[in-house]
Symmetry: C2
Subunit: 443 residues, 2 copies
């Protein structure tokens, strides 16, 4: 009997969670008790493990390896409904979430709608330089990357061939570094024997970073090490390289024009626009500036968490970073407050005092390629194979579902021992709206 | 060094293979010797194991599990180039394959471009009832199937909800039967606990077959058994049910109108239109009527194989069926003739006599669902768990690549023991051109 009374019991306070990323999902799980009924809404039916999305874009993993239907994850939690729906705006006064096709009223709201890539006001660049946030984005990047070699194989004009084999990744954060590293490994190693007339080792992979170092969230010596590692893989790392224009098959860095058939955007993110509708101050990246308890001024029932929130620690003055652990911690934090206050009310006790949210930094990890990683954990800084292995372990651990963990480990083992990637498929015949179509071969 | 002299050595006879399905791939492998240089062209970069494509459409397998880059499969074969290109027509007199963007001359030609679904002249139906031939088709069907439950979960009008949960599969061949069986298992078992307000067990899955039995290539008693098995799973099997119209959310069977949000076409196939350009007789399904040696009249250098060929055994008068084993056998047959005749010519010997192609029937297998299969091998006819197991073993065996075999077995084991499917993802935001867009939720 799927129709469950608890999830429909209107006498319980209704918690609405917008977004099934790490923040929303961890909040939902912590709200599985009898205190409330919970509705989680998301535009997509799946929770996505974004830290590994670049591996879908670079043909190592399949989308299903890193995604899980949200309702499958929460199916045992009988007080929780999951709805595939798009939240458009919030009406804090009426306590209503406006959907693209209806509305949903709430007693408590947790906004965890995340962020998307931002072109810093140059949305016309998005046509030529897709970003990486969704499965569809990843498949589009995979398609472009793989098709470039196919076109190069058929191209006879040397200049055009060179452009086909030039790849520019814009942005030296973790995503850009991981993408560039994986692309170099594929071009210089995995597929070199698969082509006959093109030498894939002549491919050029450029990582363009506007700042003076990559992976700026790490200490300078680790940034330098990562740069060295990338260069060892064959990536051309350009620092202080501000992209001034992106057109069809052209990237301009300063006054230099680079002919490149494939350009990938990994430079900036912008919080979900739904935050604006709250009518409270937001920062430059569109994030809602929240109180120490992650709520918005005047609305203790509205929590904004994860990449949508600009949360500053009142003691240290440091902002919580836009990473998965921060989103998880915020989700748990908000859920616990809600449970405690519902309980107190039911038992006619005084409301417990809300302690400020405090981000607990467990360290940061990044991978550059095979046996190459960097790690910064407390006072420990290290790099190389150990950091890479730790990165792999942590990422497998946080994948949801035992099957996914198993399959990802098999794919990684295969890649490690045979240098062979399992998902080198060009799919998606129809050009995506708003993206420059990439037609298959050029004679 | 990827640039290999053999594949470019123009003194060797040039064999062009159009199509990287089973026929083309088996032909290419058998042409790996020093006699010829080989060019295989395909519109897609991957060989697809079509018999398991329905498992992608029903969320069990990922595309990468059943597809492999063609150039990866043939990479050790140094005399062979693989090109991503679309063949448009053949000019037998000039010995040229016209591509969408160039041309390719040949000394020998193997046409193995396969078939696509056919709407029997009612191409307007294709908008509402997608067929299943490519990975993109499978992902579209998966998307429609999964989204129907999501919409039903949010639908409050009972009649509309009933339509959301009505699925019609048109065509009672292997693909239709496998799809209907898997859809029933998902609706009635796998996902029943995932929804809160909808009872997925109320879903209706209808298999409509125009003839008087399903799986008509099997003996009548096995067809009857398959029908019974489908009915046990909950599928409504309609025989002598000729579809007279398909519109948006409506299927007409005779004078009856069925409201169904999801309709899938598994009824007919049509050979690749490239066969027409040969200027020789074709049959109703667009297949080229070939000589006993699979060539066309007047052109002993042009072989047409697989689903593109209408090949009749001159002794038995029986036509070779449109199945993988027939395509493989034809590919090997054509390749061996080519090798033998090139050798004879080089050694200034008489051309060997071409023996007629003879299809060797190893038997047929079909699966209906968990522990339910039918098998007809020589004089043996059996059904149930043994036939199902045999089906699974044979299919894993013919998958290309050890990794794919391993991963598919893991997915199947998981499904078998936990009734859980690994790829329940709704992806593909952009509607496919020519298909009615399926927007996510309806309030």
């Amino acid at each position: 009997m799927p129709v469950d009374p608890i999830s429909l019991d209107r006498s319980r306070p209704h918690v609405v969670i917008v977004g099934g990323g790490f923040g929303g999902l961890y909040a939902a799980r912590a709200l599985g008790g009898p205190e409330a009924r919970v509705t989680l809404i998301d535009r997509r039916n799946h929770h996505l493990f974004q830290p590994l999305l670049y591996q879908v874009a670079t043909a190592t993993l399949s989308p299903a390896n890193i995604a899980m239907p949200i309702r499958r994850v929460l199916r045992r939690q009988k007080n929780t409904s999951v709805l595939l729906a798009e939240a458009v705006s919030i009406d804090p006064d009426r306590r209503v979430v406006n959907l693209s096709d209806g509305e949903l009223s709430y007693d408590w709201l947790i906004l965890a709608a995340g962020a998307t890539h931002s072109y810093f006001g140059r949305d016309d660049w998005s046509t030529h330089a897709p970003g990486l946030k969704t499965i569809d984005d990843a498949l589009e990047i995979r398609r472009r990357f793989l098709i470039a070699f196919e076109r190069a194989e058929r191209e006879t004009d040397p200049a055009r061939r060179r452009a086909e084999l030039t790849f520019v990744v814009i942005g030296g954060g973790p995503t850009g570094v991981e993408l560039a590293g994986a692309m170099a490994e594929i071009a210089y190693r995995a597929i070199s024997r698969d082509f006959r007339s093109v030498d894939t080792a002549t491919a050029k992979i450029i990582l363009a970073e506007a700042g003076d170092r990559i992976l700026a969230e790490f200490p300078t010596e680790l940034s330098a090490r990562a740069k060295l590692d990338l260069e060892k893989l064959g990536v051309e790392v350009r620092l202080n390289a501000r992209v001034t224009n992106v057109q069809s098959r052209i990237v301009a860095i300063g006054s230099e024009r680079i002919e490149a058939a494939s350009v990938i955007w990994a430079a900036g993110v912008q919080a979900s626009p739904i935050g604006k509708s709250l009518g409270v101050p937001i920062d430059r990246a569109g994030r809602v500036i929240v109180n120490p308890d992650l709520t918005i001024p005047g609305h203790p029932e509205i929590f904004v968490i994860g990449d949508m929130a600009s949360a500053t620690d009142s003691k240290t003055g440091k902002a919580a970073p836009g990473v998965c652990p921060a989103a998880m911690q915020m989700g748990l934090y908000a859920a616990r407050i809600i449970v405690a206050e519902i309980r107190a009310k039911r038992e006619l006790k005084n409301q417990p005092l809300r302690r400020a949210f405090k981000y607990s930094d467990k360290g940061v990890l990044a991978t550059i390629g095979r046996n190459k990683g960097i790690a910064w954990i407390g006072r420990l800084k290290f790099s190389g194979a150990l950091a890479w292995l730790l990165w792999a372990l942590v990422h497998v651990m946080f994948l949801i579902g035992f099957r996914n963990r198993l399959l990802v480990m098999i794919e990684w083992a295969w890649l490690y021992f045979f240098f062979d990637r399992g998902a080198r498929l060009i799919t998606g015949d129809s050009p995506k709206p708003g993206l420059e179509p990439v037609v298959a071969p050029k004679a």
